[in-house]
């Protein structure tokens, strides 16, 4: 398994108004929008919400094709919910539920796509720093995130290795012979990493 582009994040660089708005403002608007969508009932507000969200996406210049690709599962769900609810409870409910779903996801996607992941992670890092008092080491969060990113491909390799080893011993399809050594090695590797961190004076 390769680290691949899939872990590069969902950020779409740009310099639109939306991109330039402070992160706090974007998050606050998203929160209010979420509350509004839930509180205001009926198909009318739902449709308005969808339009607002799509408009913002357009202002932020999200690439249409890529965005639609990312939204495909949600759109599919929304379509089925629309059909199911229209059949069960009538079209107003169908439109409201599916409209709310789409509006929220599109709005969320706008914030996601206009905020670099590392900005959010840095923000989080700062936010958890006061936890120092409870024993979470300062910079521990950032380090844990880096460690996680480093370990994702290693876990893929580990799994391939273990599977190969099981097959080489003629244990072709034994979940036990594959999962047990995988888990044991994953823990063993983490321990070695922990030792190496300690040896490098990190986390002390």
């Amino acid at each position: 398994m390769s680290p691949g582009p899939s872990l590069l994040g969902l950020y779409r660089p740009g310099s639109t108004v939306v991109h330039r708005a402070p992160l706090r403002l974007r998050m606050a608007v998203l929160g209010l929008f979420g509350v509004g969508v839930v509180v205001l009932r009926g198909p009318g507000p739902a449709i308005v919400a969808v339009l607002l969200a799509v408009l913002t996406a357009a202002v932020a210049r999200l690439p249409l094709a890529a965005t639609l690709r990312g939204l495909r599962p949600v759109l599919l769900t929304a379509a089925v919910v629309l059909a199911y609810q229209t059949w069960q409870r009538g079209w107003p409910v169908g439109v409201e539920v599916s409209g709310d779903l789409v509006a929220l996801v599109v709005a969320g996607t706008v914030v996601t796509a206009t905020t670099p992941t590392d900005v959010l992670l840095d923000g989080l890092s700062r936010a958890v720093r006061p936890l120092h008092r409870f024993g979470v080491p300062p910079e521990g969060f950032a380090l844990a995130v880096a460690l996680m990113l480093r370990t994702v491909p290693a876990i893929g390799d580990l799994f391939t290795e273990v599977r190969d080893a099981a097959r080489a011993r003629g244990l072709e399809r034994s979940p036990r012979a594959q999962l047990v050594p995988f888990a044991v090695r994953a823990v063993g590797r983490s321990r070695a990493v922990g030792e190496a961190l300690a040896a490098r004076g990190i986390g002390d």
């Binding site: 949600v74 599919l76 709005a107 969320g108 996680m148 994702v152 876990i155 979940p175 888990a183 002390d204």
Partner: protein, 212 residues
């Protein structure tokens, strides 16, 4: 042993915890990549709960929950680590939000059960028993823990799913039924694997709480 040397040991554990938590989160990421959409309810079958229960059962309540929280943090921050390559604030709008938010609780509860009952099953009563019997004892505890963990995940996940889809709880439960066979299989796998890990690393849960 002197106080001083204990403090050294504890500092070693900090790095060790960090490594376990970071790797645990990575494991959950990899398990999230495996997603099979079933029906269009918007909730796919994934290996996430397998990872969540494993993390609790293997790392214990505290580290298990921390690993899951780390995963949620990077996911909400924008890395596409949730099911079907999603992530970022948009996740708050997912119909599966409830399951996600319940994951750390599920890991914690599973770990809590294993820690509380596992020590007894694994060492005291089992000190003179053969390894196999000891494993069976621990297996039962892991089974209990992962069933409870799964129940917690459902308890939060299903109502949120139903609410998001504008459905009744009964309808939500009906959708969730589709996951049951696979989720039972995952519980069985955790029950098989976690005790073996503890046999390989007998001190995994007995370690004193670190970072604190």
């Amino acid at each position: 042993m002197s106080l001083a040397s204990e403090s050294t040991a504890r500092q070693g554990f900090r790095a060790a915890d960090l490594a376990l938590v970071g790797s645990g989160a990575a494991f959950l990421v990899v398990c999230s990549l495996v997603a099979v959409p079933i029906g269009p309810s918007g909730a796919p079958i994934t290996l996430q709960t397998f990872a969540v229960l494993m993390l609790g059962a293997v790392l214990g309540s505290r580290k298990g929950a921390l690993a899951v929280l780390l995963y949620l943090a990077v996911g909400f921050a924008g890395l596409p680590v949730f099911a079907e390559g999603t992530g970022g604030p948009a996740t708050f709008a997912k119909v599966t939000l409830g399951y996600l938010l319940a994951f750390p609780v599920g890991a914690w509860l599973t770990g809590f059960v294993v820690e509380r009952l596992g020590a007894r099953a694994g060492s005291r009563a089992g000190a003179r028993r053969p390894a196999l019997r000891r494993t069976v004892g621990l297996g039962a505890v892991v089974l209990l823990g992962s069933v409870l963990g799964t129940v917690v995940i459902y308890a939060v996940g299903v109502p949120v799913l139903a609410a998001r889809l504008g459905m009744s709880l009964a309808e939500g439960l009906a959708i969730n039924m589709a996951f049951l066979p696979v989720d039972l299989l995952k519980i069985a796998l955790v029950t098989m694997v976690a005790p073996a890990v503890h046999r390989a690393f007998p001190d995994l849960l007995n370690r004193p709480a670190a970072m604190g």
